[in-house]
Symmetry: C2
Subunit: 504 residues, 2 copies
């Protein structure tokens, strides 16, 4: 299929580390072996399949036959919900026996051939990506680490949402890559801000960022989702400034209707991904089964232009190797003709988003009653993902001060570090402690601030960290117990301003 | 148990990357959550367990009840060999249900609590390592990559066997670590050579190597195994020169009797590992289930002093995360009270080494008849692992020349690059091509040469690359077909010297 693509040459984006790893000392031997399949080989030291003590594995999974809303009945019926059995290694089925045998042998960095086909079909169903190829991963943390190493050299700058899931940037930090924060709002990345950074890039800082890392749906932590219009605009910027978009999309399938709009058509499509817009081969899409099947599977996949695949496979072969055969065969059987099939998977994920939408709406009702009503906090309704990003009106607190003069330690020069002008950060720390004291754990915005050298913003992010991330992925009981605590804490916090410092 | 240790402080060996990764932005939140288990939490966005569509997994594995030589009967009976079933998620068993649930949720970088217990018991059974702790890995390629990152900074030098499995050094190369080769013979690393390198280390090169990476049993490619005496000597050097020993030991359980010695006692212990000698905490041992269960499980573990564990867990949490839950629960159940138990595992691995010893002896008989008898090649009998390291007597070839004057391009100065004096490398390339032309694939020594800058040796390794690695891990049919080809090729190669260059 690659023939039909008009991909541009993006090889200049590969990191030196990637190129070092290309020098596989075994590659000539592998080439000779592939070109001469008739050879008797005394070369490879693989354990013989007959020495593996595993005969067969049966996976008992939710049956989809009973209902149109399989997640709901799976949950409601609990242990008595109907299941179906998926086997590998059934001695009466040569294909299944061969699949187990292949999965238990040393494999290929891209993943098992059978699971790659299943995942390519899944991509073709949800995205328009005719000439892209897939590579299996151990989930998105692994995928991101590998993609950062694929593309980043020490000293490079990568762009990312100014608030992002904390551990992810660390994978690049440890590798010597530095971060440039892009301003986001309730709709995700603001294209004009991205454009400004790239237009104003000072070459003396170093190479202009050639990678944008972003979570387009149900962004973690802000819950924002990029509109199609913003995606198109960002893609145009990627073309104009020649950067690669790393689309980390674990919440793709968890997309909801907005309140006060008519219920979506059951056939309502999932959002148009960056991948579906990619005519150049500059989108690297990262998918995970963690949110839609189970995180413990540690299984996901990367979709790239063919150019990147052999380099990615090298990174995999010389580090983690392919994912465990067990989750690979489970996914193969689950999405295969003897399992749910792709149509069944689609029913499952639509039913799953219905379940999460119900949780979101439960959260929303409680939030309106107990928190928004206090007047001290507000939140946009997320149209995807698992999180509400709650803005706390710290500026309504009597002890708040917003307007310390801009006492930038290095004067007002362009690359000097911008310092906080308000005491918002201190307030939020105080509020976090008050929540804990009242029995509630929440995520303060500060833990999601992209680590940077602080020279990029015109305004300190500390002044904009007056947010809490709250999840609606938990049980109704948890939400029923937790959200009223937040309302109570906010009332006390704002109702007892300026309490003496000597109080415990 | 850590109280009983007299481990020294080895924190100065941690890499800067390791320390960067320590800065987990979520760590304060995690600490608060752990210290306050009573809190209602709206913090974590984990999918609820009820949303995972997996009810139960049954693993059908070899039954050990029938015989004292379970591998042999498992192979002989094929599909009719008796099996036993190991389940997780059985609704009638709360512990098993909880195990599946935990394995399918987000986990801890060290691995599932239950599998860590099983593996710690396994260590205690085979090694003396009272105060060491275990961390699960995705097999040894993954473990090595992580350990190299744990300990190595760009510009550092690591020590390793001068011939080693090709892809492994690349994991460090890509990270900017450089290699110092240590001379080996049929008994593995020569302690005097190691001592010489460390004694003569010129500080102007950079920091003296603080890591030795070695495969002590059935070394790949040379098949050598370190005697207990050499291990003791190397450990003393590690103490004297303050380096860490990374003991990569995938062939630990595949250890054989030497020919012409009485058959070993059935209770014959496995070799004394570096881990068992480690009183300082300076051994990092890397184990794999690839050779004794199945490579496709992608499961292994690292054993370290407690000091290293939190750093290793950080590397894991910010990259691959823990191994897939499926191989973890399989191992837990296999070694648990409802499965083989540890005693059963021990029976399996002893039976397995018996199977490999039979293969080795079959190879040896063929080799003596068809290859050694030609007078053109010889091999030591490996006492562990999967490989024969065949020395070809290139010096007996009429076209061979051994003694080109030492035309070191930079004169004879200490750090100048040493160049080959013989045409051994060219001969071996010619021999490899002749094998392929005759229908046989072998591994030439050159693909295992540790990549270095060439300034360490007094003699070029090219002059000592007159070896082939042959495996006995394959079937008897393969050996029956392949080994006579080698004999024939050698006879032709040495019998038709100086054939005109124009012959294809």
């Amino acid at each position: 299929m690659a023939e039909s693509s008009n991909f541009v040459d993006l090889a200049h984006h590969l990191s030196p580390e990637t190129l070092v790893r290309k020098a596989n000392p075994l590659k000539d031997l592998i080439r000779v072996a592939l070109e001469n399949p008739h050879l008797v080989t005394l070369a490879n030291g693989n354990p013989h399949s007959s020495l593996s003590p595993f005969r067969r594995v049966d996976f008992e999974v939710a049956s989809l036959t009973a209902t149109d809303d399989p997640v709901s009945s799976w949950r409601a019926l609990g242990p008595s919900a109907p299941t179906q059995s998926l086997a590998v290694g059934d001695p009466s089925d040569a294909e299944s026996t061969q699949l187990l045998r292949a999965s238990m042998q040393y494999g290929h960095g891209a993943g098992l051939e059978q699971v790659l086909r299943v995942v390519a079909d899944l991509n073709a169903f949800y995205h328009t990506a005719p000439a892209h190829v897939v590579t299996m991963t151990l989930g998105n943390a692994d995928a991101i680490t590998k993609v950062f190493r694929l593309l980043g050299a020490p000293g490079d700058y990568f762009l990312a949402d100014e608030f992002t899931f904390g551990p992810m940037p660390l994978a690049a930090d440890a590798h010597g890559v530095r971060w440039v924060p892009v301003r986001i709002d309730a709709g995700g990345i603001i294209p004009k801000e991205l454009e400004r950074i790239l237009e104003e890039w000072d070459p003396e800082r170093g190479r202009r960022p050639h990678v944008l890392y972003t979570t387009p749906c149900g962004q973690n932590p802000t819950g924002s989702t990029l509109s199609l219009e913003r995606r198109r605009r960002i893609y145009e910027l990627a073309q104009r400034f020649d950067f690669i978009i790393v689309e980390d999309d674990p919440y793709y399938f968890l997309q909801y209707d907005l309140p006060n709009t008519p219920p979506a058509d059951p056939a309502k499509p999932f959002p148009t991904s960056f991948l579906s817009l990619d005519v150049d081969g500059r989108v690297i899409r990262i998918d995970s089964f963690s949110k839609v099947l189970a995180p413990g599977l540690r299984l996901g996949y990367i979709t790239t232009a063919p150019l990147f695949r052999p380099h990615l496979v090298n990174l995999i072969d010389f580090s983690t190797q392919n994912p465990s055969g067990l989750p690979q065969v489970l996914l193969t059987q689950l999405l295969g003709p003897g399992g749910w099939t792709l149509a069944g998977f689609d029913r499952w994920v639509r039913s799953l988003r219905h379940d999460y939408q119900r949780r979101r709406d439960h959260f929303l009702a409680l939030f309106e009653t107990h928190v928004a009503s206090t007047g001290w906090a507000v939140a946009d309704v997320p149209e995807a993902g698992m999180f509400f990003w709650v803005r706390v009106f710290v500026e309504r607190h009597p002890r708040f001060h917003a307007s310390a003069p801009c006492t930038d330690a290095n004067g007002s020069g362009g690359q000097a570090r911008v310092v906080a002008r308000s005491n918002a950060k201190e307030f939020m720390a105080e509020l976090f402690e008050a929540c804990v004291a009242a029995g509630l754990l929440v995520c303060p915005a500060t833990i999601f601030v992209l680590p940077t050298d602080g020279t990029f913003d015109s305004e300190s992010i500390d002044d904009r960290s007056n947010f809490l991330r709250l999840t609606f992925a938990g049980s109704e009981e948890t939400m029923n117990a937790g959200i009223p605590i937040l309302g109570k804490v906010l009332n006390e916090f704002f109702g007892n301003p300026g309490k003496p410092d000597q109080s415990d």
